[in-house]
Structures are given as C-alpha cells and as structure tokens.
C-alpha cells in the first residue's frame, strides 16, 4: 500500500496535522481499514526525513501538542510522479488502483488523462497475457484467464469512474476534496 503517497495526497489541499490526515484518509477510503495514529506519525516522520513534508508549526494551545505538516516542493513532485505512473496492472494491484484513482480525482489531477493512462496500461497488460496463450495446458490457461478477468473487472471499474466524472460535474475536471465539500 502506498501510504507515503496517500499522505502526500492528503496534504495536497493545505497544511494539516496528524489528526486531520487520519480523519481525511478514513473519509477518502471508507471501506478500508482506518489509518492508525501510530502509522500516521511514523509516515510523517519518514516523509519529513526524506524532505517531502516539513513541519510548519507546533501548536501547544489547550490540549495536546499538535504539529502541522505541509507538503514541500519535492513532496509535491513525488506526488505528481506517483500519479503520473499507472498502478502495476496485476490482480494484486486492485487496492493500489483504487487508492491512486481516488487520490487523483480528489486532488484535482486531470481525471480524463489519468483514467486514459490507467486504461491503456491495463489493456497492454491484457494484450501481453492474451498474446501468448499457454497452449495445451488448461490449468495454465485458466490461471491466465483469471488474471485477464481481474484486469477486465478493473477496466469496467475505470469505465465507471469515467462515467461518474462525466456525470458528476459540468465542465471542470475536479472531484470534491472531501465528502463534506461534495455535500455543500
């Protein structure tokens, strides 16, 4: 799971502290396991050491100390590099493809281009698999069929994403950053 990049995407909308990041993460991916606070801070520490985020301020008003983190230029670059690279088209990439697509739509990346790149990557992988059918070995063929079926399911889901993007907005290419924004 690309937690590093997802945290960078969560900071894309502006500086935030660990609690905000955890809350927004859980809102972005309501059907996955909530992000543990320990994981949030470990990730932020790792990203800070790599120069991808920086500490903006530490607030010590009433209550616990809260450190506000912001994306650095390098962090911004890392995020756009990650989004520009299609997820590895394999059966096991289902989770990454969902994360990447949601992050791309939420952060206002060009949805049409993102989805087209991902579709092309999936079709290419499918073509590689269908190009060399394992002749005479039904089991191997079934294993390949399984991979192809998963890629096909991903592709149908990407098509649905395109439809939702087209139906959910007029002319711009932007999904709301949070569910709250969508309901405003």
């Amino acid at each position: 799971m690309a937690t590093n990049e997802v945290v960078l995407a969560l900071l894309r909308d502006g500086p935030a502290h660990g609690y905000d990041i955890k809350r927004d993460h859980d809102a972005w991916f309501p059907d996955t396991r909530p992000l543990a606070f320990g994981q949030v801070y470990a990730t932020l520490g790792r990203l800070e050491r790599s120069g991808l985020v920086e500490v903006l301020e530490t607030r010590t008003e009433a209550g616990p100390e809260r450190t506000v983190y912001a994306l650095t230029e390098r962090g911004e670059q890392q995020l756009s590099d990650w989004l520009a690279e299609p997820a590895g088209p394999a059966a096991s990439s289902a989770e990454e493809i969902v994360r990447k697509t949601v992050a791309a739509l939420r952060t206002g990346a060009n949805a049409g281009e993102f989805l087209a790149r991902q579709r092309a990557a999936h079709l290419r992988r499918m073509r590689e698999l269908t190009d060399q059918p394992p002749d005479g070995d039904p089991a191997a063929r079934l294993a390949r069929d399984h991979l192809v079926a998963h890629l096909d399911a991903d592709l149908r889901w990407l098509d649905l994403a395109v439809e939702r993007v087209a139906a959910g907005r007029g002319t711009n290419d932007h999904f709301p950053a949070t569910p709250e924004e969508a309901n405003r």
């Binding site: 087209a116 092309a120 999936h122 290419r124 499918m126 073509r127 192809v148 096909d152 439809e163």
Partner: protein, 230 residues
C-alpha cells in the same frame, strides 16, 4: 526498385455525421495502416458503429473525407463503392446481415460469385471458410434458422472468403460464448498476421479490444483517447 512506405488502408479526416439532430460523429480522424488491428471502443451511442459504417462506405458522412484503399469514397458512385467493398473489403455487421433467401453456403459464396469467380471454386472456398469458422449447422440452412452465434460464424466466413485487404467488424463475437468468441477472433486476426490485412474491430468488450495493436476510444462522437497496445 524503390521501397515505398505502404499507403494507409484507411484515412478518415474530420468526419462528421448526424442522424436527424443527434450528432454521431463530430470530427473524427483515423488512419489505419496495412496489417494493423485497431479496436474502436467507447460507451453505447458514442459513434462506434457509425464510424465503421462511414469507413466501409455504408453511410456517406455529412462532413470530412474518407479514403479507403486509396479511393476517396465521396468520389465513387454507389456501384463503384459496392465493387470496392465486394472485392477488397470484408464486413461483419452486428446482426450478421445475411441474405435471408440464400442458404449459409450460398451466403458465403456470394461475394465470390458476384465478383465473377468460378462457381465450383466459390463453393469450395465457402465450404472451407465455414469449416474454419466452426459452423456446426448444415450448409443448406437458411439464416433465419441459425442461432446468433452461428450467424456470426457465417458472417465472419463471408467477410474472409475473398481474402480482403481490410476487414471491418462490428461486435463480431457479441452473441458468442467466451471460447467460441476467442476462436472467431483468432480467425479474424489471422487475416492480419497471415496476410497483412488491416482489421478494424468495434467492440465494447475489453478482452476483444486487448487483441488490437491500438485502441481508439470514442465519446460523444469524438476521439477521447488513443493507446498503442502492441
């Protein structure tokens, strides 16, 4: 001898077409090279079938130009377009479009007979293509008695029997089970690999599209995206 790069099989430029007030094609350009397999995909109503019909000269587009096998289709009269299609183009339409009063064997032999081929040779070739297409019905069956999948096998045999330079196929495996569809698709694609024919496939099926060298994705009558898959 100079080696000339092969001329494109199909060159569509800024093609526009509408049915009454519904715009089906809104400035589509598409070039297909010999031996290339192109999948045209997109949601229902995006203009896929109209594009295929315009490319094959079945409909005359309201705007833009279509050059098929070096012929500007707008400059050909109906008879000349029919001759071109019959001898050098194979077409598989969505619902087979077989001649209802002829048997399946006669349907497949028909393009060869109309093109002046010897009768016995035409029937032998038709029989061979029906075998390759895996038709499990009697050769004198009328089209009305075929299942959807059998009709598609006959339509593919008829499209390939003349050894065309280009094949246009609209959902060629639409009524077939997976394994039957794979077989028919292999037969169509074999025309590209074995004889260098160009194949343009209209499909909503990702697995079919993944057999192409290139995907052209339409939306609202325009090319939304193109991807090289080879």
């Amino acid at each position: 001898m100079t080696d000339h790069p092969a001329e494109p099989v199909l060159e569509m430029t800024a093609v526009e077409h509408a049915y009454r007030r519904t715009v089906a094609l809104n400035g589509v350009s598409l070039t297909v090279e010999p031996g290339e397999v192109v999948a045209v995909t997109g949601p229902s109503g995006c203009g896929k079938s109209t594009l295929l019909h315009a490319a094959a000269g079945i409909v005359r587009p309201h705007g833009g130009s279509v050059a098929l096998l070096g012929h500007d289709l707008a400059a050909l009269d109906e008879a000349a377009r029919t001759r071109l299609r019959r001898s050098r183009v194979g077409i598989v339409l969505q619902f087979g479009q077989l001649v209802p009063d002829l048997s399946v064997l006669e349907n497949v032999a028909l393009p060869l007979l109309l093109d002046g081929h010897d009768r016995a040779a035409a029937y032998t070739a038709a029989e061979a293509w029906l075998d390759r297409a895996g038709l499990d019905a009697d050769r004198d069956t009328p089209p009305a008695e075929l299942s959807g999948g059998q009709g598609q096998r006959v339509a593919v045999a008829r499209a390939l029997v003349t050894g065309p330079a280009v094949i246009f196929a609209d959902e060629p495996t639409g009524s077939m089970d997976t394994i039957g569809g794979e077989h028919l698709l292999e037969l169509l694609l074999g025309a590209a690999t074995n004889r260098g024919a160009a194949v343009v496939l209209v499909t909503h099926d990702n697995v079919v599209a993944a057999h192409a060298d290139r995907e052209v994705r339409l939306r609202d009558g325009r090319v939304e995206a193109e991807a090289v898959l080879r």
